[in-house]
Symmetry: C2
Subunit: 721 residues, 2 copies
């Protein structure tokens, strides 16, 4: 952290690769530093020059003879390792490596990368970059980048993984009067990553919110922990590229990093209290609202407008974003009846009519602000003969701030409303071109409030103590590995579940048709019979499963049918017999699974089972470990929840048992990093409880070959449990 | 049409209620007309004045002594009927009634409305309004509105149901260089409605596209017919407010008109070739693209960018809008390999790197334009040291137009890209602030191409001739009505289906438990038994249905169980016995229903049956009559289609039978406007065909009391069949 402060609050800066050649990066860097009000000393470093722009230049950083806080390096990649070494020897605290040509270019670059990494560890130099634009800190008038403009001062810290996007956003922000406390192009992150910066900005009093443009993520758990710490008190908004598979593919080819499953990002961001936004404009529109206004306590929005149509569009947009149309109290309606002409809408949206003047706006807003049912107000104005956009803006800005409610505005039009817009922006009322933009921001900032609830949720109590037989499962896995297998049989998989207190169906192995009949008689008809083989992961597809077997004859016939059918499909399958099980008829079939995500590790998938998984995709994702509250959130996120909680004349199923199932399952996948993929499908459930009817476990060869610690030690936050 | 032309191409205009009082509407109207380059004569009319602004004023329109093409009326509502009468007597061709205070204010206003309606019919005066802003025709320099600005000339005709929105959009359009052929505030539509204007603009050579802001719709079929005619050659884009229930409610209270079901609007718009857009900006962004560029033939988009990040965001947005990421041909890749530095992305998005100059942009775009796999190109530019935004814009504009492909651009930033933006806009390349905005427009204009396919689709042949027994059904309905019922029994409903060649399950009535057993034996176990009563529409909810009855004993017990259970729930139910049916097990249960929409009449709902209807809402809506092609579209719009067409090891079901079912069903609901609500749920289907297992029909008291013609005469377009 001390070194970070040296980077972002430097007293002395060396520009290595400084130049006065017009159009060169080295020139842009130097000029940005010296042609500004930055109060510190800048030393050009260039092996070939004695002075640049009439400023004394040094051959190397070691020649400067003064302690350098920050070195900005813009020399060709091959020379950078040596320069970093010199920085280390000269006791430089931190560096920004602007140069590109390292990890993203293949073999040669990777070697340079490794050399730099070694050196900076040795000398404890903190590094931003490489392959970045640099950073800007407006409060210090410090433009340590080669961007040609200075950012405006403000309270947003912006971190971008794309340098090119930085230049666009910088240009845009100046035109739109959006200011920053820090503006950073983070590059390829050889050292300093999102998490480091989040932690650092968490201690920056000038930073009210963090905005991130992200293309890929390494050190996911570190990132989530940092984000979680920060978002307990201040918002982080992230625009992550690669939401679609095609986009993720493009991002991967662009950054060279793993893409990960985008839906897991959603789950992880929510868990860390991060607000994920959809578009570039959303990012900044929302930041504006966060910077200017108090957070909404709830999402009940009132709309005050001098035009009915835009009011309706605002409501449509609000519902699209799952907000609530505030229901005005009788008292408020009575107040408005006194203020407004008889033709007013008498409900929300509050249409104060086309001839509304500034006083009518002011009185109406005051009346609605006082309503307990209202958390936020969007004021819409269209230019009309009797409506002075500038005057209304002044009145809105002059309103007392004590309400603590969120105010947003949309002055719709061009030149006629331009002055009003400026007044609102200066008066800290976020202003949008259209009601839809305003509502989208409102939804995002409300999401932050909602995420905070989640961060502060009590974990909830389990129905009874949970004592998994971890050692028993270790034995099972050891035996499987010893056999040289990566796929568990259904019997083994079920045993692993049972050892973690997950109810599974009783299952009896039959090696002959006669044995099958006996087992079926013991269980009682109808029964289910299915193949037992570690070589089969989809039994149904090859005739390995027959249900609803009603009699001895049927059971007798089923045995050879199953075995022959599987033989036909997979002649070399290791068939270990046929499992005979009772035929369970429960109302709903759910599925619980877990796959390893390349970025976040194990990710739990839960939802409706059967074909619905693939057709309706009614599933949700959660990161282990789960507590009972988080498990409940997952359940509620599915559509099938509407049925599970009791629907029409169908009773509520035993939801606590599903919560507990998810809880136990999450510990199973955390405790055994050897598991690559695990599925319980179906998990049959009704009002009397749930039971796993089938299960599948596949092991991770990488982890078998080189064991790693259980994931349970990698909880997202120490305060999690 | 002649009179319409008089209104929109007037040689003589009377301003009735003209005034010189600053701030008054009468003054704004007069000033807009006289302080412009409009070439025609304007006559102020004011009962109290001899001259206004030094122009001779007349007491009434009759005193002018010249034939008036257009009267603009801005007097208080109570005087308007008399003024309209005078207009009629003076032979005025058309009028714009600016005044408000008619149908939207209740009793008094409605009377005035009726009087005006009577007069304009008598004198054949065409009227725009009342309660509107007027209209603007830039090509004639004619501002026949009280908006304070003149629209720019262009090729878009804009029709807005909200006057207030007009002023905002007008102000915005001037700032954004968007021009119009006609700009109309349509008001409450006492006479001229959307359809009239669409037909009129269909003959206007200066109109390339129509944009509509709609809050409510009357004369739905007339509107759809006009829209369909227009959209065969030119696009109509509609922004309809009231997408959410809450928004529709707000629109209703705002306009006083029926709201209708928004999902039916979607179906109707698609049927008429209308592109529905989501936001105000979408409307104009898309219009810009349509006005400036050829329509894309398909939706394969290539992206050329000097920044990887925005390229990824563009791909994400493209996939969100269900577009295709163009797959570049090997030939194109080879060409680009020669043009670009080695580090280029080698796929779409084509990242031409941060140091791209204008020549690199130009060559890359040319290479990609020549690719047969590409229908459109989005060029993205971020301001970089080596990239001159203005120069790249010039090169893009100078490209030969012969490719016929769609070009879009996003110059991201503020001042640095401002000049480039202007050049692109002037050069007919639509330019957007962000890639997301560009993609959203691309999706909308592609939707127009896709809609045109639908308009030109061949109807498809039915599997065999369809000869419904219409007369038999008339008899059934007559008998039901005679009994004083509005609800048909299940048996009657099924018979009506059978008469329309819809396969229904055989059903046998039992009046006693003994009869039930006999019927079940005849059918063969297992059977289904259910209550027969016109008083029950939800059998399951009150124990009126038992399935999977396997034996005589079960059947015997089922009879009293059903009857008693229903009695308990509905003591006064008219129980006519119990139906005994075979237990059909087919793979999928679908539902087909029809309800009357308050705006569009019968609307057919089709999709997955069972609880899925309410949980997954996997349904789609179509307007009758349907041909085989339209029926297929409905089927394809559902998610269950993925299963129906054959999924994994499950065979494709008999989809032609579902198509034909929808076809026949659509004629049934068209032929019998007496039907208020009809449901087939479930319609069980598998690879061998489908069968209706249950049905419900409820009649429309209004139509029973006052019969109307079958809907089949109201097909959307005469060219439909």
């Amino acid at each position: 952290m001390t070194n970070l402060d040296k980077i972002f609050n430097p007293k002395t800066i060396a520009v290595i690769g400084a130049s006065d050649r017009p159009g060169s990066v080295g020139n842009a860097l130097l000029e940005n530093l010296i042609n500004s009000d930055y109060h510190g000393t800048v030393y050009p470093v260039n092996i070939k020059r004695s002075h640049i722009h009439a400023i004394k230049a040094f051959k190397t950083v070691k020649d400067i003879g003064e302690k350098i806080d920050l070195a900005i390096i813009a020399t060709p990649a091959p020379g950078v390792p040596q320069i970093i070494k010199e920085c280390g020897e000269a006791g430089v605290s931190g560096a920004v490596i602007i140069s590109a040509g390292f990890i993203e270019t293949g073999q040669g670059g990777e070697k340079l990368w490794a050399e730099i990494l070694k050196t900076i560890k040795k000398y404890k130099i903190r590094v931003v970059g490489p392959n970045c634009l640099g950073f800007i800190k407006p409060s210090l008038h410090l433009n340590a980048s080669f961007a040609s403009q200075m950012a405006l001062p403000g309270k947003i810290s912006f971190i971008s993984q794309s340098g090119a996007l930085c230049t666009s956003i910088l240009d845009w922000s100046i035109k739109n009067n959006v200011g920053f406390s820090n503006f950073i192009s983070i590059g390829s992150m050889i050292d300093m990553d999102f998490a480091d910066l989040i932690d650092y900005f968490g201690q920056d009093k000038k930073t009210d919110s963090i905005l991130i443009y992200m293309e890929s993520l390494q050190n996911a758990r570190k990132f989530l922990a940092a984000a979680r710490r920060f978002s307990r008190t201040k918002p982080i908004l992230v625009l992550k590229a690669g939401r679609s598979n095609e986009g993720a593919q493009a991002a991967k080819s662009h950054t060279g990093a793993m893409a990960g499953n985008d839906a897991v990002f959603d789950a992880a961001f929510a868990r860390a209290g991060i607000v994920r936004v959809g578009t570039i404009l959303d990012l900044f529109h929302s930041a504006k609202a966060l910077a200017m206004q108090p957070q909404p306590k709830n999402n009940r929005l009132a709309i005050i407008t001098n035009a009915g149509g835009p009011g309706v569009l605002a409501i449509d947009s609000l519902k699209y974003h799952q907000g609530q149309v505030a229901h005005l109290s009788k008292n408020t309606i009575a107040k408005l009846d006194k203020i407004l002409p008889p033709a007013w809408s008498r409900s929300n949206p509050v249409d104060i009519l086309g001839d509304a003047d500034s006083v009518r706006y002011q009185k109406s807003i005051k009346a609605v602000l006082a309503d307990k049912n209202v958390d936020a107000i969007l004021t819409i104005l269209t230019p009309q003969a009797m409506t002075d956009p500038t005057e209304v803006a002044k009145k809105l800005v002059a309103l007392p701030k004590k309400s603590g409610k969120t105010l947003l505005a949309s002055w719709m039009g061009g030149e006629q409303v331009a002055r009003g817009r400026q007044i609102l922006e200066k008066g800290n009322i976020p202003i949008y071109r259209t009601p839809e933009d305003a509502i989208s921001s409102f939804a995002n900032i409300y999401q932050y409030s909602k995420n905070q609830e989640l961060l502060n949720e009590t974990p909830g109590a389990t129905p009874h103590a949970f004592k998994p037989k971890t050692k028993e499962n270790k034995k099972i896995l050891a035996a499987v590995v010893k056999e040289g297998r990566l796929v568990l049989t259904e019997a083994e998989a079920k045993l692993m579940l049972a050892n973690y207190d997950i109810p599974t169906i009783e299952s009896h192995l039959a090696k002959t048709a006669q044995e099958a009949v006996k087992q079926a008689q013991k269980i009682g008809f109808p029964v289910v019979m299915k193949i037992l083989s570690p070589d089969l992961t989809h039994k149904t597809d090859c005739g390995g499963l027959i249900i609803d077997i009603k009699s001895e004859e049927e059971a007798k016939a089923a045995f050879p049918n199953i075995v022959n059918s599987v033989r036909k499909h997979l002649p070399k399958a290791d068939i270990r017999g046929v499992l005979v099980e009772p035929m369970i008829k429960k109302k709903y079939e759910l599925m619980i699974g877990c796959k390893k995500d390349s970025i976040f590790g194990p990710a739990i998938l839960f939802g409706m089972g059967g074909v619905a998984v693939e057709i309706f995709k009614d599933t949700t994702i959660g990161l282990p470990p789960l507590n009972m509250a988080l498990a409940m959130r997952m359940i509620k996120e599915t559509k099938i929840y509407k049925l599970l909680k009791g629907y029409r004349n169908m009773p509520r199923v035993d939801i606590a048992s599903i919560q507990f199932l998810l809880y136990k399952f999450s510990y199973l996948v955390s405790d055994f990093p050897e598991i690559k993929e695990i599925d319980i499908n179906p998990f049959a459930v009704d009002e009397y409880g749930g039971i796993a009817l089938d299960s599948k476990i596949i092991l991770d060869k990488k982890v078998i070959d080189k064991p790693i610690k259980p994931y349970s030690h990698l909880v997202i936050s120490p305060t999690f449990k």
